[in-house]
Structures are given as structure tokens and as C-alpha cells.
């Protein structure tokens, strides 16, 4: 029969329409307005999962975000797979397809359950703790087992075709939760004129009012909801966001909202107007004030067998009946510690089903709801509780007995009542999750038997989240909070015109968490505290016996509150049990903290549009298109795309990188090459004190650099360690152009600014990044001058335009600055032109360069050429622990400069003066075919027992086509005094390379080639 548990009338589902869905391959029917959970219950599906550790059958327990068992894998196609969806939060849609996350081979006949409860033995409490303490290799064994048995959901193996979005928003008042408190708060703030965002995680706004028995203004509560929503929707500054979960609350009222835009419609976002809609959206909201109206979660009681399908939260039973028109069983026993639980029994009876009995833990229950139950003739057993649920795949009976809460013992005979459903209520826990994300620790309130949110600046808790539960008071409290929040944002206080809600006389609740059993906890049947992680009361007791006294330790030891559950149902019961075992109070055991996210967020929503080609911005030089057209392979240097090498294809055969680099190197050394060097950082420095400033930030001298001249400069931090280098040219007396490494451009500019702004504000000097304004092309090689001569009006005579000079003129008809600096060791002209002229100049150079063998080269060749000359790359050959002395660059250190330039003082500290520091040297492998590994460690004695003392490491290593040999730059302890000595490089594969320490300048040590 279709939907055996669906009631004939009632609920907010649309019975006129049928939806078909499948669960574990079985087809079922439901209605629009159902969640997957309510539809499963309507169809009488008891088992929705197998438990993580013990493989026990599990059913739906709750009706909201706190559901621990109904975790499913969604998706009818591979690309549409979504793991870890709560059935209680997933709206039903046509053709929805879901599977249990756990259960192998299936939930009904679970193999793991039969293998002697292997899980239980295999995973005692402290499993994670002990596993991580065990040899690492054991984890692999465990992990395979756990994954197979537990499932844990899986991510799709195909690309997600959906698109996701981010939106950044500001508002005056963000109201989290659209139950009675939230609606009322939004109304108060909205009426005041504040920009309000009201979010609610459910399909429909209204929260508890959607299943409430109470009336507001003498009408059903839902009528009031509709009225308020209508007014809010007409307020221009109010944004209503259903299906939106506030998942993280961060500093300074920054809240992340996860809006599920189409997840209630289909697996993959449907198309609208030919375009795929956004599946979900992350809103990053900066709120003036946050009103936390997140309500309260009902606490289940902890009794034996409380995980057998058919055990449910009392409030959830009411919600399924009243909101979804589903009675999830036929015969109910209620176990409660408070009046509120009675609602489920009343709803059950009114749905025409049998209430077998109510076990009330209180000696003299006497509230209004109690009287209503009595009036219906329901049997109430005072001073008792359900101590054990009997049944295997579904509850078959409840064992009820009188209990002594204080003494934690069963005091009367045990009566077994046949039933198929047990509802339990242990009171309510305010949903303080968001409040504690910011680091504020919830505080225990003994009167309310729950943790209350602690003050967070700019946040007001209200309603259930504030420990206010009576409907009339909730609405009033919400209004007050909303009005105050509006006022804090500068809007006028609102006078409340509160609706009429009948006061309900309520009896006091008792504090009951774990229900005693005839047998001691450690020997009795399992009482579950955290169903998602299969944590039992016995496990917590065991943890306290093993010496774990803090609740934080107990949690880690037992895994309570782990996973997607985050302790929504179990944490406080777990704390109460730990407190009982330790003979302390709950607040003495600790407090409960929660971390973002409140419920799982899909990676898609986190990523938004920052994926694929939009993952990270890419920076292109002005000549990029030419590089692409000429077959360049690219290398990422920061965000820049730089040509790495230009492989040629001859007779259908494409060069390897090795071949291309060899050809490019020879072209530069023998003819002429060209490099796109536009990515080098360029900083324009101006002001009367520019020269003085340079003298303070560089290690070398700048006082006498004349206009037209260029100088290499080395920059240290004040600890004496090199952090960047480059050339700086004097453009005019008060005007300089500094170049930095590609990666260091932004860092160096900030470095100059911090010194100017914080230490030397009296210096009149200004800095500006001009990296993108100027394109740079390096023309280098013996034929460079001839090629340049064809295109420039600048006098290229070697005596008038010398090495380390720069000249202004025209190149290829456009204004240019040409610098005679060389990073290759060859004759070189670095041409800087306005970026938008660069492609023209580049092409002109090629038009004229062919006859000279002009060859484009990339970063790989640049590296080989510079390393052959011993030119360092800051950040590759240095690592923040290398001084200019270590680099052997005494010539760039102006010890006698009049000021104490940055880094100078540190160079005379005892540590920087050590002679056994790691010093820059060259390494020549004994076998020329060997290219040493960058990062390889250097030892002096290869026969030394392991661990060998490590004496240095390789920083740069290449094959040099010019030297016909591998060669490397390295730092070696005391290396400057070890020229000619042999060092050893033991490799992972057991090989030991031999290399000779040589000068880091492998080619043209006198620098004659660049001076021609």
C-alpha cells in the first residue's frame, strides 16, 4: 500500500500532487512539501542507515538539522552525486534518488552486522586516539576497513556541471532563524527602516509555528506567520531568504550564509531561459547587528536501545504529524522529563493513533498539557521513564520502570509495554552554535538546564536560542531584540503591538539525561549518546575511568560530536554522563563549543566561481599573444604566465625541453636571443631624498650614481639577510627606476613604504609601481648591437653607451629607455617601452633579427645562462638565512657608508660573522652527465653513519650546453675556504654523487663578454 503512514488530512503537503522518488533502489511516492525524511516515514521505511561503528539499523530520529541517522547520498547521475545530505533537510522532488550512506551490502541485510559485530571489537572507545598513537602503518589497515564499512559518503568522480556563486552583502540587522522570535525581530527592525536580512534554513519560514498546536490572535499560528511574512515582503529594505543556512559566524559580525537555490528542484540545477541556474550561493554578509533566533534543539533521553528505529524525538513526532501529515507509527510510548513532550502524545492521539502510555520522570506532573492528556484518558506513569527499547529493526516494546534520578537507579518493577514508537524529550538546548563560532564559550544555566550563548559584541540572542520557550514570551523577546538591534544601527525604537497568545500553565521540568537501567552502564545494553558516531554512555564512562576528565578530552577520546553531526543531539547528554561519572556538575566538566560550519557546505558553494580558468587571476605580458602563436610552453611565476621555452617542430618532431634550452642557450652565447622580461618588478622612485633613501635600503653605495647610469643593488632585512636584488637606474637627479625580482615586486614596494612611513617620514620621497606600464625585452648576445643599430637612434658606441649605462631614445620608432645591463653575461640591451607599443617593437625586432639568428628564449634558458655566471635569484639561491657575505658579494657591501643602512648592524653579530656559515659556491659534478637535484643535501663524509651531518644543499642546478656538463650553485658550510674540495650528495635511491667545490662563476669570470 502506498504511504501507509500518511494521514488522511492535515499537514502542509500538497496531496493533490504525487512525487515519485527512489531510496536504495526502491520506488516510493510522496508529495510536494515533503522532506525526504517525511516521505520515507510516510512510506513506512524504518531503516535509513547502518550505524558507523556497530552496524546497527537506524531510523529517522529528528525533523531538522540535528538528525544524526538520516544521512544520505543524493544523486541519480554520477556528476550529480552529493554526499552527507540530511534526509530531514532535503525537500522532495520528482525522481529524487537517494541511497543510505552507510550499510554494506544494504541496510536491510547488513553483512557487517553479521560478522560478529566486528566493528565494535575493532573500534573500542579511544579508537582514534589509540590509532594515531599506533605505528602509522596500522592506520592504513583501519582506514580501509572503516571506509568500506562506514561509507561516509563519496564525492562524484565526474566534474560537477553546476555553477555556484558568491555574493558579498552588507545589512543593518541580520536575523538568523524565521521562527516566532526571528519573524518578530525582523518585523521590529524592518518597521524601523533598517536593512534586514532574514534567513531560515528550511523550505518554508515559520520554524516551530509550522507545527504548533497554539493559536496566535485566536487563529492558527501559521496564519500569523503568513501575515508577518506578507508585511516583511512589502518592506523594501527587508530581504527574505528561505533555504539559507547561516553556517559560520566570524569576527566583527561577518556571517557566511549558504543559500540552496535549486537543491529542492533537482539533482542538477535546472535550466532557465536556456542557462543553467546557480545551484547554491555563498553570501558573505557583514552585519551591523546579528539577531540570533536559531531556536532550540530538543534533547533525547539516553536509554538502552534508544537507537532502534522507532525511537524519536517527541518534537519530531509532532512535526511529522502536524506539518507533514505523517504519523510515523501506530502505538506510542512517550518518555519525558517536561510538559513539552506531551504535545507529541496529544498530536498522536488526535491523529487517531494509540498512545500506550506516558512515562513522566516527574513525581507529580501537573501542567496544562498534562491535564489535556489525562482528559484524553492517556495513561500517565509518574516518576518513571522508558529504561529500554526492545526490538531489532523496529521498536517492539518499551520497558518502563520507576526511577530515582538522584540515586541513578531503577526503583520499581519493570513493565513491558508493546508499542512501535517511543518518543522522548529531555528538555531543550538553545542552539548556541553560531554564537560560539566566534570563540565565546556558552555558559550553563541551571534553571533552564541548558547552555546559553555568552555575549558577543553586536549579537543578540532571542527566543529559544536565548532560553525563552513560551510562545508569547518568544514573540515579545524577538520584537525587543529586533528593535534593539535596529536602534544600535541608528534607527528608532519600535513599540511592540504584540499578538495575543494564550499563556499556558507549565509544570517544572526535571533534569534527566541518561536514564538508569537495572544493569550498570558498563554491563547493560547499549545506551546511545551520539548516534552518528556510535558513542555510548558506556564509552563515556570508560573514558572517564581511563582518566579523561575534561569534556574536550572525552570528546576526542570517544569521537563524540565529530563529523557532520557536531554534537547537535548528543553533546549535552554526553557532558551530563561525564559529570555523573566524575561526580561533578555539568559546568564543572566544561562547556560545549562548536565550530563552523553548522551544517555541511558543498565545496562548490565555497569555491563559487573561483574554479577552472577563474581559479586565480592570470597576468599576461604585452607580448603574450606572440608567445602563444610561436608555440611557447608557459611557466607560472606567481600569477604571471611566462614563456618557459619555445620548442621548435622540425619535420614533425617537436623538441624536448632539454633540446630547446640547448638551442636557445647557444643562440644567446653565439648569436642573439630575446627574452620577454616584462614581469620584472619596476618601481618608480622620485623626490629630493630618493638617493638618500636608496642608500639606506640597499647595502651598497648610491651617493655618486649619475643620471644615465645603472647599478646593481642588494637589499637586506635588518637581520642582515638578503631578501631581494635588482638594478636601479638614475633617471634624473631626483628620479630613479628600481627593478625587483618578478615575485618580489609587491613585497619590495611594501618594504620601501614601511621604512618611509614608519621610520623615515622626514625623507621626501615617493614610490609607485610601474611594472605594468613598461614592457621589457632583453636583446642579448654577440650580435645584439648590430640588431639594435637597425632599429634605434641611440648612439650604441661601446665607449659612449657603456655597460651599466642607460639611454633614452627611440626603438622601432617609439620612445624607449634602453639599459645596458646583463643577466646572461653577454652583451645585452634591455629595452623598456610603453606596454601598448611593446608588441610592435617585439615584432620589428624579429623582422630585423632573422638574419642575426634572433632566437626567443624563455625562463629555463634565462636560468641556465644566469647560473653559468653565478648570478643569484633571490628566493631560490637565498632563503632568508643568507647574508651578502655568505654570497661572496663583499663588493656590494658599503660598510663605510655614513648611515647604518638596513642590515648593516646585524652583519657584525656573532652569528653572522661565523666562518662556518653556509656560503655560496659552485658545484661541478665529477660525472658531467649528472645534473644534481635542487635541494639535495651535501655531506663531507659519505661513509659517515646515518644520520650524516648535513653540510649544505644545492640551490640551483642545470645542464649547461656551453660547458657540456651539469653544474650547480649551492650553499656549503665554510664553502668559500673549500675551493677544489670534493663533497658528496647521497640520493634517495642510494646513489652518491660526487662534486667539486668551484667558483660560482662558471663562465667568463672577468665579465669581458658583457663589456664588449
Amino acid at each position: 500500500m502506498s504511504q501507509p503512514n500518511r494521514l488522511k488530512t492535515g499537514g502542509r503537503v500538497d496531496r493533490s500532487r504525487q512525487l515519485t522518488f527512489t531510496f536504495n533502489g526502491q520506488r516510493y511516492q510522496g508529495h510536494p512539501g515533503d522532506t525526504l525524511a517525511s516521505a520515507l516515514l510516510a512510506n513506512g521505511v524504518d531503516i535509513v542507515n547502518r550505524s558507523f561503528k556497530y552496524s546497527r539499523p537506524r531510523g529517522i530520529v529528528a525533523a531538522g538539522a540535528e538528525e544524526p541517522n538520516g544521512i544520505v547520498q543524493l544523486g541519480s547521475t554520477e556528476a550529480g552525486q552529493v554526499p552527507n545530505v540530511r534526509a530531514t533537510q532535503q525537500a522532495l522532488y520528482q525522481d529524487l534518488s537517494a541511497r543510505s550512506t552507510n550499510g554494506w551490502p544494504n541496510v536491510q541485510r547488513d553483512l557487517m552486522g553479521l560478522v560478529g559485530k566486528l566493528g565494535g571489537q575493532f573500534m573500542p572507545p579511544g579508537f582514534y586516539y589509540k590509532t594515531f598513537m599506533a605505528p602509522a602503518s596500522m592506520w592504513l589497515t583501519y582506514e580501509k576497513y572503516i571506509r568500506k564499512a562506514a561509507g561516509l559518503g563519496r564525492s562524484p568522480t565526474e566534474n560537477d556541471p553546476d555553477i555556484y556563486d558568491h555574493r558579498h552583502q552588507h545589512c543593518d540587522v541580520l536575523v538568523v532563524g524565521a521562527g516566532p522570535a526571528g519573524l518578530s525581530a525582523a518585523l521590529a527592525a524592518g518597521r524601523a527602516g533598517a536593512r534586514v536580512i532574514l534567513v531560515d534554513e528550511q523550505e518554508e519560514m515559520g520554524g516551530s509555528l509550522l507545527s504548533s498546536r497554539e493559536s496566535i490572535d485566536d487563529a492558527p499560528a501559521t496564519t500569523w506567520v503568513e501575515k508577518v511574512l506578507k508585511e516583511l515582503s512589502e518592506l523594501e529594505h527587508v530581504t527574505l531568504m528561505p533555504r539559507t543556512t547561516a553556517n559560520g559566524y566570524h569576527d566583527h559580525n561577518f556571517v557566511t550564509l549558504h543559500e540552496r537555490c535549486t537543491e529542492h528542484l533537482a539533482d542538477l540545477a535546472p535550466r532557465a531561459g536556456g542557462r543553467r541556474q546557480v545551484r547554491s550561493r555563498m553570501h558573505r554578509v557583514r552585519a551591523g547587528q546579528v539577531v540570533l533566533a536559531s531556536g532550540a534543539h530538543e534533547r533525547p533521553l539516553v536509554y538502552a536501545g534508544n537507537d532502534v528505529p522507532g525511537n524519536m524525538l517527541a518534537g519530531a513526532v509532532s512535526t511529522y504529524i502536524r506539518r507533514y501529515g505523517v504519523a510515523p507509527g501506530n502505538r506510542l510510548v512517550l518518555s519525558t522529563s517536561n510538559d513539552d513532550g506531551y504535545r507529541s502524545a496529544l498530536d498522536w492521539a488526535e491523529a487517531g493513533r494509540e498512545v500506550v502510555a506516558i512515562a513522566d520522570a516527574r513525581q507529580n506532573p501537573d501542567g496544562e498539557l498534562v491535564e489535556q492528556a489525562r482528559a484524553k484518558g492517556i495513561q500517565i506513569i509518574a516518576g518513571s521513564a522508558v529504561i529500554e527499547a526492545r526490538g531489532d529493526k523496529r521498536v517492539a516494546a518499551a520497558k518502563v520502570a520507576k526511577i530515582d534520578i538522584e540515586g541513578f537507579k531503577v526503583t520499581g518493577p519493570v513493565e513491558e509495554l508493546a508499542c512501535d514508537t517511543i518518543a522522548s524529550s529531555g528538555g531543550f538546548s538553545p542552539v548556541v552554535h553560531l554564537a560560539s563560532h566566534t570563540g565565546s564559550r556558552p555558559t550553563w544555566n541551571e534553571e533552564l538546564l541548558g547552555f546559553m550563548p555568552s555575549p558577543v559584541k553586536g549579537m543578540t540572542p532571542t527566543g529559544g536560542a536565548h532560553g525563552v520557550y513560551a510562545l508569547g514570551q518568544v514573540i515579545a523577546d524577538g520584537f525587543k531584540a529586533g528593535s534593539a538591534a535596529g536602534e544600535a544601527c541608528g534607527f528608532e525604537r519600535q513599540d511592540a503591538s504584540l499578538p495575543k497568545v494564550d499563556e499556558r500553565r507549565e509544570g517544572a521540568a526535571v533534569a534527566l539525561y541518561q536514564v538508569p537501567h537495572q544493569k550498570a552502564t558498563l554491563r547493560g545494553p547499549k545506551q546511545f549518546v551520539d548516534m552518528q558516531n556510535d558513542v555510548t554512555a558506556a564509552a563515556i564512562e570508560l573514558a572517564t575511568r581511563e582518566g579523561f576528565e575534561s569534556i574536550e578530552h572525552v570528546k576526542r577520546y570517544t569521537a563524540m560530536g565529530f563529523g557532520t553531526d557536531q554534537g547537535k543531539l548528543g553533546n549535552i547528554n554526553g557532558m551530563a554522563i561525564a559529570a555523573r561519572c566524575l561526580g561533578r556538575t555539568i559546568p564543572e566538566v566544561g562547556t560545549t563549543v562548536f565550530r563552523p560550519n553548522y551544517t555541511p557546505v558543498s565545496f562548490g558553494a565555497i569555491v563559487g566561481r573561483h574554479c577552472g580558468e577563474l581559479f586565480d587571476p592570470e597576468r599576461y605580458t604585452a607580448m603574450h599573444q606572440w608567445h602563444v602563436e610561436n608555440g611557447a610552453e608557459f611557466e607560472d611565476v606567481g600569477q604571471w604566465k611566462r614563456p618557459w621555452y619555445f620548442p621548435r617542430t622540425v619535420n614533425g618532431k617537436t623538441e624536448t625541453m632539454h633540446e630547446a634550452v640547448a638551442r636557445e642557450c647557444s643562440a644567446v652565447r653565439e648569436k642573439v636571443g630575446i627574452l620577454d622580461a616584462s614581469t620584472l618588478g619596476k618601481i618608480d622612485i622620485q623626490g629630493p631624498d630618493a638617493r638618500e633613501f636608496l642608500g639606506r635600503v640597499y647595502t651598497n653605495k648610491w651617493a655618486k650614481l649619475a643620471p644615465g647610469r645603472v647599478r646593481y643593488g642588494l637589499m637586506c632585512k635588518d637581520d642582515g639577510m638578503v631578501f631581494d636584488d635588482g638594478t636601479t637606474s638614475c633617471l634624473a637627479e631626483n628620479h630613479f627606476l628600481m627593478t625587483t625580482s618578478t615575485g618580489g615586486a609587491a613585497t619590495v614596494l611594501e618594504w620601501l613604504e614601511i621604512w618611509h612611513q614608519t621610520e623615515w617620514p622626514e625623507l621626501d620621497v615617493y614610490f609607485n609601481s610601474v611594472t605594468d606600464h613598461w614592457a621589457t625585452m632583453t636583446v642579448t648576445g654577440p650580435e645584439a648591437r648590430k640588431l639594435m643599430a637597425e632599429l634605434t637612434d641611440i648612439d650604441l658606441d661601446k665607449d659612449s653607451f657603456k655597460f651599466m649605462d642607460w639611454r633614452e631614445g627611440k626603438v622601432a620608432g617609439v620612445p624607449a629607455r634602453v639599459f645596458r645591463i646583463s643577466f646572461t653575461g653577454e652583451l645585452a640591451y634591455e629595452i623598456n617601452v610603453q606596454a601598448n607599443y611593446a608588441m610592435h617593437v617585439w615584432k620589428k625586432l624579429f623582422a630585423h633579427g632573422d638574419k642575426y639568428g634572433l632566437t626567443p628564449y624563455g625562463t629555463e634558458t634565462m636560468h641556465v645562462l644566469r647560473a653559468e655566471k653565478g648570478f643569484i635569484i633571490a628566493g631560490q639561491d637565498t632563503d632568508g638565512s643568507v647574508t651578502p657575505e655568505d654570497l661572496g658579494m663583499h663588493w656590494a657591501i658599503g660598510y663605510d657608508k655614513p648611515n647604518s643602512w638596513i642590515g648593516k648592524r646585524a652583519l657584525t653579530r656573532p652569528d653572522t660573522k661565523r666562518t662556518d656559515r653556509k656560503q655560496m659556491v659552485g658545484l661541478k659534478p665529477k660525472d658531467p652527465s649528472v645534473v644534481l637535484e635542487e635541494g639535495a643535501q651535501i655531506v663531507f663524509d659519505p661513509n659517515h653513519a646515518i644520520p650524516m651531518p648535513m653540510k649544505g644543499h644545492v640551490t640551483s642546478s642545470y645542464y649547461s650546453p656551453t660547458l657540456q656538463s651539469g653544474f650547480a650553485l649551492a650553499v656549503v658550510m665554510g664553502g668559500h675556504q673549500k675551493m677544489g674540495e670534493t663533497v658528496y650528495l647521497p640520493m634517495v635511491d642510494g646513489q652518491v654523487h660526487e662534486a667539486e667545490i668551484v667558483s660560482p662563476i662558471f663562465l667568463d669570470p672577468k665579465g669581458e663578454r658583457q663589456n664588449v
Partner: protein, 122 residues
């Protein structure tokens, strides 16, 4: 994710626009050559790590590129004050503690008021 008031731009901006640069008011010794190795080591390497009121140097890196100071509570992360370079904080660990002790009645009201008073020029 902080929400930071740049005293030069005169606006609150998202933390992404700023870089933290460590403890504020670390001034380089006037004459580095005259310092002992220990003094120089202190200047280079030693920083406070207080629980409570802390003065920090920040830069509006992708905004106006100006450096300024933030007085921040390292437990609540509340920004108590921002002030320009060359100015001194009006809120310090000492007077903050005194103020918290004295005005417990006004505490909540004070805490709910966004405070970004200008620093006192030195």
C-alpha cells in the same frame, strides 16, 4: 575576517585589503652601531604576545598603501581603536583594565557602540 577602519581612507573595509605587519611602536634604535648585540637582538626578534590589549601595525595594502596602528583585543578580536602613524593610542592595556573594572554597569552599552576614536597626537 576583520572589518577595519582605515584612518586615512576614513572608511571600514574588509580585512582582505590589509596586511598585518606585527607589533606596533617598534622603533629602530637611533644609532644601531651603538647598540649591544643583545639590544639589537631584542629589537630584531623579540615581540610581545599579550592576552588582551595589543597594539599592531597594519597597512592598507590594496587601498591607500598607508600604514597605521590598530589597538586590538587578542581574545575577543575587537578592534578598540585605530590611529595614524606618529600618534599614540588612547586605549592601553593599563587604562583598558581600569575602565573595564570601573564601568561594569556601562560595559555592555559601551561594547555595543562602535568606537573608532582618533588617537592622541604625540
Amino acid at each position: 575576517m576583520f572589518y577595519i577602519f582605515c584612518p586615512y581612507c576614513g572608511e571600514h573595509r574588509e580585512e582582505e585589503e590589509f596586511h598585518p605587519k606585527g607589533q606596533a611602536h617598534i622603533s629602530r634604535p637611533e644609532d644601531p652601531e651603538a647598540t649591544s648585540d643583545e639590544e639589537w637582538g631584542d629589537y630584531l626578534f623579540f615581540r610581545d604576545n599579550p592576552r588582551g590589549v595589543h597594539h599592531e601595525l597594519w597597512v592598507h595594502a590594496v587601498g591607500c598603501r598607508k600604514f597605521f596602528n590598530i589597538t586590538r583585543h587578542t581574545v575577543s578580536y575587537e578592534i578598540l581603536e585605530v590611529y595614524k602613524m606618529g600618534e599614540q593610542p588612547s586605549i592601553t592595556a593599563e587604562n583598558y583594565a581600569a575602565q573595564q573594572g570601573a564601568a561594569s554597569a556601562d560595559k555592555e552599552r559601551n561594547a555595543s557602540q562602535a568606537k573608532h576614536q582618533e588617537g592622541v597626537r604625540a
